[in-house]
């Protein structure tokens, strides 16, 4: 799927925004493998281009949240005491708000560009990784190899970056992979409500929105983007499961 997204221009039989008035709402056929939508656009092409948007939103949003999580989690776990208490209370406060509504509110104030959506999803989902990193660091900082590094004169930054984080990255990677699936779903949900990626740029979520008007007569416009979301999420879950097993 990721390969298809990268190779989108090569694979897509048509331009994603190309309107063909002669073939509106065509059922899947040899000319249009997955049919066309209400404006005569090729569903397969839009699906492939949509993968670019949906996957990159997912991955970049998770990149932002994991980065924030690592920074806050490290500070919290390493320094403990009042720093820890403050950051963890912030996490608790953030977790009290249902993320989806927080994002809806934020999107209402800002433009709903793809870029903003990535940032907003990232900013509202760093709490999980932060807690995870904190727990890992608290366990690791008591280990003797960390003590040995300190005895050799290593500073805090070096100890965190060289000794603690590399040993904490396994669970973090599993978490991030699962989170990508969550972010894709979130983006689809937002786009479905019309607050995410704006047409005519295709994303799997807004394809569903556009399709729902013609659901009764053209099943293929709904089923394929829906199926793509389903497959992507299952895929990321399997990858996470694989990493977890690999790490024992």
């Amino acid at each position: 799927m990721a390969l298809a997204a990268l190779a989108a221009p090569l694979l897509s039989p048509y331009q994603p925004a190309q309107i063909d008035a002669g073939s509106i709402l065509c059922a899947p056929s040899s000319a249009h493998f997955l049919g066309t939508d209400s404006l005569g656009r090729d569903v397969l092409s839009r699906l492939i281009y949509g993968a670019r948007i949906s996957l990159s939103v997912g991955i970049i949003a998770v990149g932002i949240s994991t980065l924030l999580g690592v920074v806050f989690g490290s500070l919290s776990g390493f320094y403990g005491g009042s720093v820890d208490a403050f950051i963890m209370r912030c996490v608790d406060v953030m977790l009290c708000f249902p993320a989806f509504f927080l994002i809806l509110a934020a999107v209402a104030f800002l433009d709903s560009s793809i870029f903003n959506i990535m940032i907003i999803i990232g900013l509202t989902s760093w709490m999980g990784p932060a807690r995870l990193v904190r727990a890992e660091i608290m366990a690791l900082k008591e280990r003797e190899f960390v003590e040995a590094a300190r005895a050799s004169g290593a500073g805090n930054l070096r100890i965190i970056v060289r000794h603690i984080l590399p040993n904490a990255c396994g669970p973090l990677l599993v978490n991030a992979t699962l989170a990508v699936a969550g972010a894709i779903l979130l983006e689809s949900g937002l786009s479905f409500l019309g607050l995410g990626v704006q047409p005519p740029v295709p994303s799997w979520g807004n394809m569903l929105t556009e399709a729902k008007a013609t659901l009764g007569v053209a099943w293929w416009i709904t089923v394929f983007p829906g199926g793509a979301i389903f497959l992507a999420i299952i895929g990321f879950n399997f990858i996470a499961e694989g990493i977890r097993k690999e790490l024992g």
């Binding site: 003797e144 190899f145 040995a148 005895a151 050799s152 004169g153 070096r158 000794h163 590399p166 040993n167």
Partner: protein, 251 residues
């Protein structure tokens, strides 16, 4: 060279919903002794007697609650270079994600002791010092046995050419044949590099073999200290007498 003066260490136990103090455990109570330059000073005592806590305080990994640890001729700036520690458990004291060479090189890089170009050479010479072949620098800790890991730990501690080495039960997790070889190696290194050892152990035979003087700890106190020969031939404190009786009965 080292003077430990009236060191106390309390651990606060916190618990309950609000983390209210629920008790204080005194790990060390008024510990004092001196270590002379060039000698091997042994610290013996059973598990939980505060030996490791004391080692960590001397290595400045944790502060004492009260009292002082004074090093002669070792300044604040060079402390991390001149005082090193080897821990008991070689399985926990090497970062599992770093290669042996990187582990040994780290103190050199932190203290800026060698140029990048001669780093490799220096790591190899440290490996030779602990009788490990140069190619082991590329291996991960998981590919070594316990004894080999402890050799890597010793090489790391020696990297900064320390004057004072704290050995916190360095042999107790190794099997007997390796223990004897490692002990010989450690004592040879001490002579060759002119170091002073603080040797923490619960193995009395080992103390008799290597230590000039000894301090006996029990429940956070030093109950007896003096020349090793004197302490073993004419122990004064009942705890020391018991310890020696048990040890001689066993061997």
């Amino acid at each position: 060279m080292l003077s430990v003066r009236n060191v106390n260490k309390d651990f606060t136990l916190s618990g309950g919903v609000l983390g209210i103090r629920s008790g204080i455990v005194a790990a060390l109570r008024g510990v004092s002794f001196d270590v002379r330059k060039g000698e091997t000073f042994a610290l013996i005592g059973e598990s939980g007697s505060g030996k490791t806590t004391l080692a960590r305080i001397i290595a400045r990994l944790t502060p004492p609650t009260s009292g002082e640890v004074i090093f002669d001729k070792i300044g604040v700036d060079s402390f991390r270079k001149d005082v090193q520690i080897v821990f008991q458990n070689p399985y926990a004291s090497l970062n599992p994600r770093m290669r042996a060479g990187e582990i040994i090189a780290e103190p050199l890089l932190i203290n800026r002791l060698v140029k990048k170009t001669s780093l490799r050479e220096k790591v190899v010479s440290l490996l030779r010092l602990v009788e490990m072949p140069p190619e082991t620098a590329e291996r991960l800790p998981s590919q070594f046995s316990g004894g080999q890991r402890q050799r890597i730990c010793i090489a790391r501690a020696l990297a900064t050419s320390p004057k004072f080495l704290i050995l916190d039960e360095p042999l107790s997790s190794l099997d007997l044949t390796i223990q004897a070889r490692m002990l010989d190696m450690l004592m040879a290194l001490k002579e060759r590099l002119g170091m002073t050892y603080l040797f923490i152990t619960h193995n009395l035979c080992l103390v008799k073999r290597v230590a000039g003087r000894v301090a006996v700890m029990k429940d956070g106190r030093v109950v007896e200290q003096g020349e090793t020969a004197r302490v073993f031939s004419a122990p004064e404190h009942p705890y020391t007498k018991g310890l020696i009786a048990v040890a001689s009965g066993r061997t």
